[in-house]
């Protein structure tokens, strides 16, 4: 820190500066985050769902998760508590009272919403999540380090972690049957549904269809398609006969979940200008103070 000429200082400072700006050209690497116009989606009509939970069985079978035989799913006593997807079941169906017609309770299927602007994709430290062209948000086991920031970020509280696993815990969530749809098959839950409460199709068409249904049966539905605009839109959209918030849907705005955080992040790192500018400023201050000290010493 001591014996050092002005030229030395400038030379090394310039070198350090180039090193930092050199880094910036590489940070373009980002996880796949495609918002294709033809992306697929699912329309869930909660007024049609009968709560048979066949989708839960189909989902577990399709994802090689442990499951009892399909008959066990006829047991409706599980509806007494609200359940959430976890590492052992990627989708669950809950039941709510229907205040208009007691004998037809409302059943709501819950799984990953496959956001158009997913918070998990934005948040993941290693880019293990990606939004694929077909609309699905999927997770890459080869990248994940198990930090669980995706769980902090997700506005729907969907990603689940295998807390019980000591060696290689996974993040588990609905993957929109990425492997099945690649082969031209339907997502397991939409294939098995006996009443077509879940319809697979292009999201654009599904949104239109949902609004058509509301228009045709204004008494049956409330005038809102959940997921059309929430957090910037989701691939899975819902119709319901009563307020979504009363069916345990989260209260969310229309702005994409990662919006504010990304704006701050990209503001601080705009082409690395602010950090480099701060570096230069501090270097300047240091240099001035050093010279001031020197001249003071010479006067004495």
């Amino acid at each position: 820190m001591v014996n050092q000429s002005r030229r030395d200082f400038l030379k090394t400072a310039a070198l350090a500066g180039t090193a930092v700006t050199g880094l910036s050209s590489k940070t373009k690497a980002a996880p796949k985050n495609i918002l294709s116009e033809d992306r697929m989606g699912v329309l869930v009509d909660t007024t049609v769902c009968i709560g048979c939970r066949k989708c839960e069985w189909a989902c577990k079978t399709a994802h090689n998760l442990e499951t009892p035989s399909i008959e066990v799913y006829d047991d409706r006593s599980v509806f007494q508590t609200m359940r959430r997807p976890n590492s052992k079941s990627l989708t669950v169906v809950n039941e709510y009272k229907n205040s208009v017609e007691e004998k037809f309770p409302i059943n709501v299927k819950v799984q990953c919403m496959h956001c158009d602007h997913p918070a998990c994709v934005s948040a993941c430290i290693v880019g293990a999540f990606s939004k694929e062209e077909n609309g699905s948000v999927i997770w890459d086991t080869d990248k994940c380090i198990g930090c669980r920031y995706c769980m902090v970020a997700c506005p729907f509280q969907v990603p689940a972690f295998e807390f019980e696993s000591a060696l290689k815990p996974d993040i588990k969530k609905c993957d929109f049957c990425f492997e099945r749809t690649k082969e031209g098959k339907l997502p397991a839950c939409t294939e098995i549904c006996p009443v077509e409460a879940v319809t697979y199709g292009q999201r654009e068409d599904l949104v239109k269809a949902a609004h058509q249904k509301i228009k045709n049966y204004p008494d049956r539905y409330i005038n809102r398609v959940f997921g059309e605009y929430e957090v910037g839109g989701t691939s899975w959209i819902y119709l319901a006969s009563k307020e979504f918030e009363k069916l345990d849907f989260p209260k969310l705005g229309k702005d994409p979940a990662p919006g504010v955080s990304e704006a701050i992040q990209h503001g601080i790192f705009a082409y690395f200008v602010p950090p480099v500018a701060l570096y230069a400023l501090l270097g300047g201050v240091m240099w001035i103070n050093k010279n001031k000290k020197k001249s003071e010493n010479e006067e004495i």
Partner: protein
């Protein structure tokens, strides 16, 4: 001004306090072992509702903030070139180096796949705040070790004495140290400035971390200026941390605290805290979140404690001349600021976090607390070892040479 020179402390290592701390370390290590054998779920109270606990909220978030003494003193001593503060730079540097080491270790034990901790180095996600924090902390940790190297050189140049068959390495090692020392002397300013820049970046980004949680975070804390608040609070906790550490070290090694340096440092805390308070209150007024303070619940109580005891009272104390002149006053005021920032990080990461489908709230398990306490105890023990091996704590030059064991009442 008396001449101060960093000198290795000479005293018995084991005291009753040290043994007590060692027991805490062992206790923590036992639970840590259980975490690696049986998984995170077995030792912690974490679940799908609460993905992060005190290992992130305290060990990492508060740990980073409380290690801010490193970059604030570097900025003061090296960049502003205030030479009178050189005596406090080394202890602060050591605290920062130890603190950040434990931050890295804490992150690692919290990772489900800890053996993939290097993934962010090659798998980049520019939009991820956590990625930026991670990379900044990694580089800064390296910078801190580099900044510490000259102290190692100073201690061991001409004094490398390896035992037994390693003897043949003595000469080459000495040469390496000499080359390092010479090279670092010319280039150290690069690392010092880089350290300050990196600190500003990740201290603020640590605040951005929770912004993406959006409505899952209580509005008293959730604000787009979180990064600014985190940076300001980190800057204002840096000097109190140095003050507290300095007073405790002096006490522990029976030295006289360098009260004039500490008073000067203390007088700088009030304006820094004042700026932080202004932004905190301003944010509350603009977003009209003060309405949440009218209801009596955990959030409002914790927020009030944090602001009143962690900011307002110590701010008033640091504004008083008497407090600034007495070691006890400085110690108490500094402790309040430190506790306030500690609580603030705890609040931001854990208390404010209310997931939409919360069945029960989170409280750390005995295992989590044991590991956290064990790490803090371990840090203190390592600090004590380090100041006894390396020239870190400054003592008056003459007395240091004259008396070998006790400097009590040495230079009045």
């Amino acid at each position: 001004m008396e001449d101060l020179k960093p000198t290795p402390m000479k005293k018995k290592y084991f005291t009753p306090v040290v043994i007590g701390l060692a027991v805490l370390v062992l206790n923590g290590l036992m639970f840590l072992l259980a975490r690696f054998i049986f998984g995170i779920g077995a030792v912690t109270n974490l679940d799908n509702q609460h993905p992060w606990g005190i290992w992130i909220g305290l060990d990492v978030a508060a740990g980073v903030a409380l290690a801010a003494g490193g970059f604030t003193t570097a900025a003061l001593g090296h960049i502003m070139h205030k030479d009178q503060y050189h005596a406090i730079i080394r202890p602060a540097l050591l605290t920062a180096a130890l603190g950040y080491t434990f931050v890295a270790v804490s992150v690692m034990i919290d990772l489900g796949r800890y053996y993939y901790i290097w993934h962010p180095l090659i798998m980049w996600n520019g939009s991820s705040v956590l990625f930026e924090v991670g990379i900044c902390v990694m580089i800064y940790l390296a910078v801190l070790y580099i900044e510490f190297l000259p102290i190692v050189c100073e201690r061991f140049i001409g004094r490398v004495k390896l035992p037994g068959f390693l003897k043949s390495l003595n000469n080459p090692l000495d040469k390496v140290l000499r080359i390092l020392d010479k090279g670092l002397d010319k280039t150290m300013f690069i690392f010092i400035i880089a350290g300050v820049v990196l600190s500003c970046l990740h201290q603020s980004s640590l605040g951005t971390l929770m912004v993406i949680a959006g409505p899952k975070m209580h509005p008293l804390w959730q604000t787009p200026i979180l990064p600014l608040l985190f940076l300001l609070s980190a800057v204002s906790v840096g000097l109190p941390m140095v003050i507290m550490e300095s007073i405790i070290t002096s006490k522990s090694f029976s030295l006289k605290p360098e009260i004039h340096i500490l008073s000067n440092l203390g007088s700088m805390v009030a304006p820094l805290l004042g700026i932080y308070l202004a932004f905190k209150i301003g944010d509350m007024v603009i977003r009209q979140t003060f309405v949440y303070l009218t209801t009596f619940n955990t959030a409002s109580v914790m927020f009030t404690i944090e602001l009143l005891f962690g900011v307002i009272i110590p701010l008033r104390m640091f504004m008083s001349r008497q407090v600034n002149k007495s070691p006890l006053g400085l110690l108490i005021a500094s402790f309040l600021v430190i506790a306030g920032v500690f609580l603030n990080r705890l609040n931001n990461f854990l208390v404010a976090y209310t997931p939409p489908y919360e069945v029960h709230s989170y409280f750390p398990s005995i295992g989590e607390i044991s590991v956290t306490v064990g790490f803090i105890a371990f840090e203190i023990l390592l600090f004590r070892i380090a100041v006894m091996i390396f020239p870190i704590v400054s003592v008056p030059n003459t007395s240091a040479q004259r008396t070998k064991y006790s400097i009590r009442g040495g230079a009045q």
